[in-house]
Subunit: 340 residues, 2 copies
DNA sequence: TGCGTCATTGCATACGAATGCAAACCTATC
DNA sequence: GATAGGTTTGCATTCGTATGCAATGACGCA
């Protein structure tokens, strides 16, 4: 029955056809508004016949809420983020919100992020890049909640959701020491990231608590290729390590490839490798990567509930949540000997 | 210098402060509008002092263009899509457009997609799910260009960008036959997808052209796990294949894992495997997957230029583009013997 | 019958910016 | 100094919907 819908169909047109006022149409599509069943039905019919659909843009303008969440991301080649992206978007969708995506370019962080605010997003989730504290402040001044996902910036007024990277690092240190390794290496992620900072600090702390110091440190900057190069460099040194803790799984795969391929080593017989994140591939047969699992679902849940709390109360008060991690034993690291 | 910006700052406030009309403010932020340098400067100063930022929502309402592109996706665990997503979003961003993300749920495809139109997106890209032809028609009636990315639906009025999946399938058939395989198997993706349809058809055609028929057919539905099960099933049959063509890389990894792990086979000595897509992981050491490469960048470029053509001309005429693929020889398939 | 109560409804306005139109201004030229 | 040409500028209106307010109607109770 859809009549020709030339251009847009407005609530006024529907009103005319249903012989009611534009207000009645608006109220019909506003949950909880006062409309008589009879009227509602007439409006619904007219709407269907004309192919009417409320204009979310106009609605946003007047209500002051766009029901859009700005999501800033990068590194989509690291499996961790696409999965977060998908689940987060899904969670938002199920609550009537939608995701406006911003890929943060290396250079003009703020430049591009300004547009975020122009679009009147109701909140911002920073899923990988860090935003300048200037911009964070700007968001909060505009009463836009900001959640840093998987980033913990100490002096920021934004909220943070992270897993316990520090504890994760310690866990790995203990695990590797317990299984008899003594020549430990670390391959770092991006130097300016809080994840790297904490994972590394935890690892070092764990080692020092047992009187061991780090033998090698390479920098992979969360890139596959750089991690491979860093691995090659340290393995060709005079004192190659007997275990490598890699700041994330994405790089750990590169490390394993280099160890097994060009270097012809057996893992974990010749050398152990432990990653961080527990992305799906870590469980795949080719890698079977021993790694520290982040509680992805809980992190997303925390993010969403934080967001909606702030949206509903109107309070943009900063919260931080740090969720527990656990070590997943697979087969790239020697298993500690237990007494039992 | 930013003064307290309680709530939103509007162009009217800036106008008052700069002692000009609201129109002047608007024109200052409209590229190409007529404003005297002197006035522009005053406005810019006032804007900076107040922390003014044009409201994209209001702008969309009056201009009728939201500068948002609706992107519908799913399967973000298959590497192919996150990469497309990132590059596409980046390409759009660089042209002043932004990406509104929709994760298509299995059940209520149209239900959710209705919202796409409510948000007044200027165009729609379907990156994985197929939309009902009813909805496609609805979009085009509303003059919203629709591009099906990596999907080719024959009877749809939407535009399509694909790679030559048919030729890709044939390529694989020839390659495997040339290297002496005769017991060929195929592991299908989602049965209702055009990619699977064409890759399979091409493969079968290629075999039949040489008088060979398919020995086994399993269905992986583009899922890691299902592909693994399908592989196990066919390998345990009385007549295991000597080569498997897998409908995409994501499943091919599962196939390789099963063959090498539980089944203890050597690839390609005992059996060959060929994938499709050439995602980054295919090149990684642990897999070294022989596969058919889709020209991702070209596909994205085609999508974007198609989109903007239609946006600029206002014509929503349906185009289709089918880009060439090529076989990437790595080490999971025996290399054909050449005479040279 | 009359009055109070409550649910519906329409009117008018607001949201924030863009733009056609005409007024105002400036500059140059004769 | 007057006029023509062009550039700036402001006024008023517009986009499509939500909502406060007042008016209308319906209903029940005394």
């Amino acid at each position: 029955m859809t009549l020709k819908a030339k251009g847009r169909v407005t609530s006024a047109q529907v009103a005319r056809r249903a012989d009611v006022s534009q207000s009645a149409v608006s109220r019909t599509f506003t949950p909880g508004a006062s409309v008589a069943p009879h009227t509602r039905q007439r409006v619904m019919d007219a709407a269907r016949e004309l192919g009417y659909r409320p204009n979310a843009i106009a609605r946003s303008l007047i209500s002051g809420r766009s029901r859009m969440i700005g999501l800033v991301a990068a590194y989509l080649d690291n499996q961790f983020y696409p999965i977060v992206l998908e689940r987060l978007a899904r969670a938002l969708q199920s609550r009537g919100y939608h995701t406006l995506l911003f890929i943060s370019e290396p250079g003009d962080q703020d430049q591009e992020l300004e547009k975020l605010l122009a679009y009147q997003v109701d909140a911002v989730v920073m899923a990988s890049a860090t935003l300048s504290s200037a911009l964070a402040k700007e968001c909060l001044e505009a009463d836009i909640p900001v959640v840093l996902f998987n980033r913990d910036v100490p002096d920021t007024p934004a909220s943070c959701v992270t897993s316990d990277n520090l504890a994760g690092g310690r866990l790995v240190a203990d695990y590797l020491l317990n299984s008899g390794h003594r020549r430990l290496a670390y391959i770092a992620g991006a130097e300016n990231s809080s994840t790297n900072r904490d994972r590394e600090a935890g690892f070092i702390q764990g080692l020092e608590a047992r009187g061991i110091s780090l033998l090698h440190r390479g920098v992979g900057a969360y890139s596959h290729q750089s991690a491979a190069q860093a691995t090659l460099a340290m393995m060709r040194s005079d004192t190659p390590p007997d275990a490598i803790f890699v700041a994330n799984d994405h790089m750990a795969f590169a490390v394993l490839d280099v160890l097994r391929g060009p270097l012809g080593l057996r893992v974990p017989d010749d050398i152990s490798v432990v990653g961080f994140d527990d992305v799906p591939q870590a469980a795949w047969g080719a890698y079977e990567l021993t790694t520290v699992a982040q509680p992805t679902d809980q992190m997303i849940e925390a993010t969403v509930s934080m967001l909606f709390n702030q949206l509903e109360t109107g309070q943009a008060e900063s919260t931080r949540e740090c969720l527990p991690v656990r070590l997943i034993e697979r087969s790239t690291a020697r298993i500690p000997h237990t007494d039992s």
